[in-house]
Symmetry: C2
Subunit: 198 residues, 2 copies
Amino acid sequence: MKGPKSLSALMERLQSLPGVGRKTAERLAFHILKSTPEDVAALARALLDVKEKVRLCSICHSITETDPCSICADGQRDHGQVCVVEEPHDVYSIERIGEFRGVYHVLMGALSPLDGVGPEELKIAELVARVEKGDVREVIVATNPNVEGEATAMYLAKILKPANTLVTRIARGLPMGGDLEYADEVTLSKALGGRLKM
Amino acid sequence: MKGPKSLSALMERLQSLPGVGRKTAERLAFHILKSTPEDVAALARALLDVKEKVRLCSICHSITETDPCSICADGQRDHGQVCVVEEPHDVYSIERIGEFRGVYHVLMGALSPLDGVGPEELKIAELVARVEKGDVREVIVATNPNVEGEATAMYLAKILKPANTLVTRIARGLPMGGDLEYADEVTLSKALGGRLKM
């Protein structure tokens, strides 16, 4: 497209965002053109703000503007229960259900030897240190139920064994609203193996 | 979601973009968080640049950084053939096929009495003035083939009649790759009525 140079430049930038192709970039760019200068300036400011202000919490490695983060600093929460997740956004997925009252530990990824991600690349040593300090009653491993997440969970269970802390794994099974007919074999096998007394 | 304030602010801003819901805004915001500061600064800059540099061409009302725009300033193009479109991005849709060698006229919308858009809100007087100057051989009406676009086309044909210029309308019919079985009645009727000798 041979349009104004700044418009092409914006489209190119927008296309580097996840899930944004040529058509979407075009639609967004034309929307920006029609927006008020104030709205565009506010969007640009919001983008820069996030990069300037957001850092990682020194305790749980989740994203925060203050250190420690609001969850780690919350005396009302149960600091003896640590939920281990792969990414900062996983914290918000769990917070959204509004039930978990413990704290978090973000690994910043999952073990993936093929991509060169070993235990040293993750915040595993930091987790072990937190557990060894002694006030952690339970470590809930909430890594993703895929190959990397499962491998990471197994590794954590092994490495935390000497600490003698309860290590649990979130349940894998049929999703609510799901259908036995369409469930894959591995999920069904996990659902059967993880059955609970009613 | 109770995350860092600047992150929530960014998500809210992103959600005001077309086609961006809560989930997409979250995904984009976390992508921004992971991007390098340089990339984010470049995106913010591109947003501001577009608003600062892009204006409307005083001849065709398409978007441009220079006035007149590169198409209106192009001596190689046929200035006697004016293609009328609703929005600036329609110009780029037609330019993409790379066949049209005439120039454009952007109406900045279509007639829509219910939304309070009458002829005065559109660049119709400007089109009439261009045609009355006398060097326009043909006006190709390429407004959208929907209620507003069709009404606008009919209005243009009527108002341009005294100028004695050829006014044509782009063909409405079955899209290439389409299927008679799935075509709606109006399209099929237009396709039949607009048949051409082979």
